[in-house]
């Protein structure tokens, strides 16, 4: 890059002026409607901004870390964090495993009608989350739901999927895996196709079986893909909101209230903006930790 001290040619000046005009709309929009609110969120988390402050913001006071201290002693917050961690810890690995399985099915050498199966598996990804949450609410109905009917055929007793605090979160995990696995499947298919075919041929000549080829060629070859898919899936799952909002409203007994649902209720139901902002910052910190982990692991590999 040229030093700013050297004289710029007219062409360079013209391009800089053009760049300013080309970038201005996007950067202004991002600044005012994204970066500014994010910074404001960090600050609001340090105030007692509430319903009285909405009318006249002068009513809000700086309270330091009080919101955070209160969150630490708030059982509902801890429960929400625990529920979310459960959702991430169960749903993340399950999603990744199902995606990999589907990718290997679709990518197998013998598979016919590959594009058709790929499209079918991807279809749930593009569907509206609210709609499928409603559909699954009926599929999960203890008496009339299709799922219990099918389970009943093989002798599994009726499960009160969304009414039983032990089953409600696993039920939401199941819906999330069903809806999302097609997305990561596409990424895994791209990853599988990048594994050199010669490796498989050499292994076949050496007499390696299917499992050995999977264990020693496919899995190591997919390592970067695993890292990307795993971390982005978990970051995304930390933001789970619409599923519990539509299916259970956080119940039964608070067993499906997620961090974002907690934030929504604090902020938009009770107008405790300070607490809600502090919750958003916790979400940000968790997400940053996840991204940092990905960055570190990636560096280690190279």
């Amino acid at each position: 890059m040229k030093s700013t001290l050297t004289k710029r040619s007219p062409l360079e000046k013209r391009q800089m002026r053009a760049a300013l005009w080309f970038l201005a709309p996007a950067l202004l929009l991002l600044l005012v409607f994204f970066f500014l609110p994010v910074v404001a969120g960090l600050l609001l988390g340090l105030t007692d901004f509430d319903i009285y402050a909405i009318g006249s913001p002068g009513n809000a006071r700086f309270v330091g870390l009080e919101n955070y201290a209160r969150l630490l002693t708030n059982d509902v917050f801890w429960r929400s964090l625990g529920n979310t961690l459960f959702f991430v810890a169960l749903g993340g690995p399950l999603s990744v495993a199902v995606s990999l399985g589907a990718a290997m099915l679709v990518d197998a050498k013998l598979t016919r009608l590959r594009p058709l199966f790929r499209t079918i598996y991807f279809a749930p990804v593009v569907t509206t989350l609210v709609s499928v949450a409603i559909i699954w609410r009926y599929l999960y109905h203890p008496r009339y739901g299709l799922l219990n009917h099918v389970l009943g055929l093989v002798g599994v007793g009726p499960i009160d999927w969304l009414g039983d605090p032990h089953w409600a979160m696993p039920a939401i995990v199941l819906l999330a895996v069903w809806k999302n696995f097609g997305y990561n499947m596409l990424i895994f298919v791209a990853g599988l196709q990048a594994v050199p075919a010669e490796l498989y041929e050499a292994a076949a000549i050496d007499g390696a079986g299917g499992w050995q080829r999977f264990r020693h060629i496919t899995l190591p070859g997919l390592a970067p893909t695993f890292l990307f898919v795993g971390v982005t899936t978990m970051i995304g799952y930390f933001q789970v909101f619409a599923e519990p909002y539509v299916m259970t409203q956080g119940g039964p007994l608070g067993s499906t209230r997620s961090v974002v649902l907690f934030m929504y209720e604090e902020g938009f139901r009770w107008w405790r903006i300070g607490t809600a902002s502090a919750t958003a910052v916790v979400l940000l910190l968790i997400t940053l930790a996840g991204a940092l982990l990905q960055f570190r692991l990636q560096k280690e590999r190279t």
């Binding site: 080309f22 970038l23 609001l44 013998l110 279809a123 593009v126 069903w178 990424i187 958003a280």
Partner: protein, 274 residues
């Protein structure tokens, strides 16, 4: 070793089973949407309507203001798509092809903000829009959809491949930078703009949390928001709710089927950003 015929059979059995799992919830929705009231709760369950009816859709449009919600969703989604393609195409091209001091550093900074969850800014953004009088307006809900870091990223990666010779030749011919962009660059980067359009369309159409927050007035609600409030009052009306779900899902599915190949490109491009 198994015979190839047997493994192929096993493989396709697994493929078909997985397909059934993917399609059954959507298929049941489509069937129940045309069932008579109460039929979706029949035991044993009906997989197809025995006496198909359109009355659920008629009820959605006549009794329950869903036509308005459909219109809201359509207007918001189309505007979001057009504006986002326009705004992000310009910015992505500038980051790729118009040099200025500090450009690549600025882009890196911007890209690193991709990890910040949208929820962090949602409350302050709502308060800001409230001050500006934009709550319960199309403009208010559109504001965060217009510029997207992911969109800029997509366009930049693609525009990096545009030939400099082509641009320089146009400059020698005396074309201005805007003319070059409109006449030469836009046609060349059309595939990635289709990708961006498909992504924006689907995410705006399917979005829930932001419209839920900023469009609290029932008349302004988008389909997902209207549907979520409908299920509160009409949870017993399974067939009606399935018709509403179908109305919401169908446009997204159709757009996906038409733009599928552009969509796949965006997902694999996003995964190598590292």
């Amino acid at each position: 070793m198994r015979r190839p015929g047997a493994s192929s059979l096993l493989l396709h059995a697994a493929l078909v089973t997985t397909s059934l799992i993917s399609l059954t919830p959507l298929g049941w929705m489509a069937a129940a949407a045309f069932m008579q009231p109460g039929e979706a709760n029949a035991l044993p369950p009906h997989l197809l309507p025995h006496d198909p009816t359109l009355q659920n859709f008629v009820a959605l449009f006549t009794r329950l203001d869903m036509a308005r919600a459909f219109l809201n969703s359509a207007v918001i989604t189309v505007l979001a798509t057009v504006l986002s393609v326009f705004v992000n195409a310009m910015a992505g091209y500038a980051f790729a092809k118009l040099p200025f001091p500090g450009r690549d550093r600025l882009f890196k900074r911007l890209a690193s903000a991709l990890v910040v969850p949208a929820q962090v800014g949602m409350l302050p953004l709502f308060l800001l829009l409230r001050e500006l009088g934009l709550v319960n307006t199309y403009a208010g809900v559109l504001v965060p959809y217009m510029a997207s870091i992911f969109g800029i990223f997509l366009v930049r990666q693609y525009a990096l491949g545009v030939s400099d010779d082509l641009l320089d030749a146009a400059r020698v011919d005396g074309a201005g930078e805007f003319r070059i962009f409109a006449v030469i660059v836009l046609p060349v980067i059309r595939p990635i703009l289709a990708t961006l359009a498909a992504f924006t369309f689907l995410s705006a159409w399917n979005d829930f949390m932001w419209p839920l927050i900023v469009l609290s007035d029932g008349h302004m609600a988008t389909l997902p928001v209207a549907l979520a409030s409908l299920v509160g009052e009409h949870v017993q009306d399974t067939e009606l709710m399935m018709a509403g779900s179908m109305l919401t899902i169908l446009p997204a599915l159709v757009v996906f089927l038409i733009f599928q190949r552009f969509f796949v490109r965006g997902i694999t491009a996003g995964s190598v950003k590292g």
